[in-house]
């Protein structure tokens, strides 16, 4: 299954400028792990020491937020997974 993973621009410095990575996976967690295998620095940025997604990133599928199943939402061929930075400032 071909899934496009769209990365927030703050992550592009970890992917040699690539904003969209095509991977295979059955759910959001598998897709993110595929991206992390290709670009280990992405993992360092988006996960904490225990491997949990950092609280200031959201995972969306086809533009919809996936809470509370950010890393276990099923995906199918053609879906777009997005990692989005939650903007904190004011």
């Amino acid at each position: 299954m071909s899934i496009k993973v769209k990365l927030h621009p703050v992550l592009h410095k970890f992917t040699q400028g690539q904003g969209v990575i095509e991977v295979n996976g059955r759910n959001t967690g598998q897709c993110l792990r595929e991206v992390e295998k290709m670009f280990p620095a992405v993992r360092e940025e988006i996960r904490d020491k225990r491997g949990r997604l950092r609280s200031y990133y959201s995972v969306l599928v086809n533009s919809k937020y996936t809470y509370p199943k950010q890393l276990s939402t099923p995906v199918k061929d053609g879906d777009e997974v997005e990692i989005r930075l939650i903007a904190p400032g004011g």
Partner: protein
């Protein structure tokens, strides 16, 4: 709808009002009735940083009758690339007082109240209780969540804005009708305390927040209710994300009382 519609009948526009606000009164669907609604409205601006400064300028220009400015910080040199109500001579001054001084010169008919306090679980409801809506100008999610909870408890609309670098987001929270902040982000996002920002990013998000406030208070247009608008200034893309209420939300969920 909660905002000051009921009170508007008791307000009248002066000749000066009709001249000052003439160009916006011309707008179809707004008119003199809309202007009266703004005149009788009370808006709390929580935070007088990159969002709160431009937001309070445009609220004041638009003719909001009463604005309460809340912040607990003093003006610093590092604020001046984006916090456009504070000038060099204000460094060291309390932010609400610094902002109020300029807003009073901009529009003497707007009543400005200042509160130099940190927003906490203990005082949040008291601070916002008399407001028709609250503008989110906070620089951290911890306090945003306190405000969100207080707004849900008091049934007061909360216009959320957030920025990072050239990126921004905004949504309008109508308690009981739309997802609240805790529905969207069940875990309080905990960022590093210092992050990049250009002044133009909060300026853009702030004017969108005020646009939402004007529509909400005057009762026209379509709000960003149940939708998150995200802006990418690197590519100039605006995208919307539909939001859903979380029935298990610990702040506004229908099942929260069963927990």
């Amino acid at each position: 709808m909660r905002p000051g519609c009921d009170r508007a009948a008791h307000y009248r526009l002066t000749e000066s009002d009709l001249i000052r606000y003439g160009r916006q009164v011309l707008y179809g669907g707004f008119g003199e009735e809309g202007q009266k609604r703004l005149k009788c409205s009370h808006v709390v601006v929580a935070g007088l940083g990159g969002l709160g400064c431009p937001a309070s300028i445009y609220l004041t220009c638009a003719g909001i009758g009463h604005i309460t400015l809340v912040d607990c910080d003093y003006v610093e040199l590092s604020n001046l690339n984006r916090q456009i109500l504070h000038y060099e001579e204000n460094i060291g001054m309390e932010k609400p007082a610094s902002a109020a001084e300029k807003l009073a010169r901009l529009n003497s008919t707007t009543r400005i109240t200042t509160i130099f306090e940190r927003i906490t679980e203990e005082n949040a409801r008291q601070i916002i209780r008399e407001a028709d809506l609250v503008i989110d100008g906070m620089d951290n999610f911890g306090t945003r969540f306190i405000l969100n909870k207080a707004c849900v408890a008091e049934g007061i609309p909360f216009i959320h804005g957030g920025i990072y670098g050239l990126f921004g987001q905004i949504t309008t929270i109508l308690p009981g009708k739309t997802p609240c902040l805790a529905c969207i982000f069940p875990e309080v996002p905990s960022h590093r305390s210092i992050f990049p920002v250009f002044g133009v990013t909060p300026a853009l998000i702030a004017v969108l927040q005020v646009m939402e406030a004007i529509k909400l208070l005057a009762g026209f247009g379509r709000l960003l209710a149940g939708r998150m608008l995200c802006f990418n200034g690197e590519t100039m893309d605006f995208v919307y994300h539909d939001l859903r209420r979380n029935p298990d939300c610990k702040i506004c969920g229908r099942r929260k009382d069963e927990h």
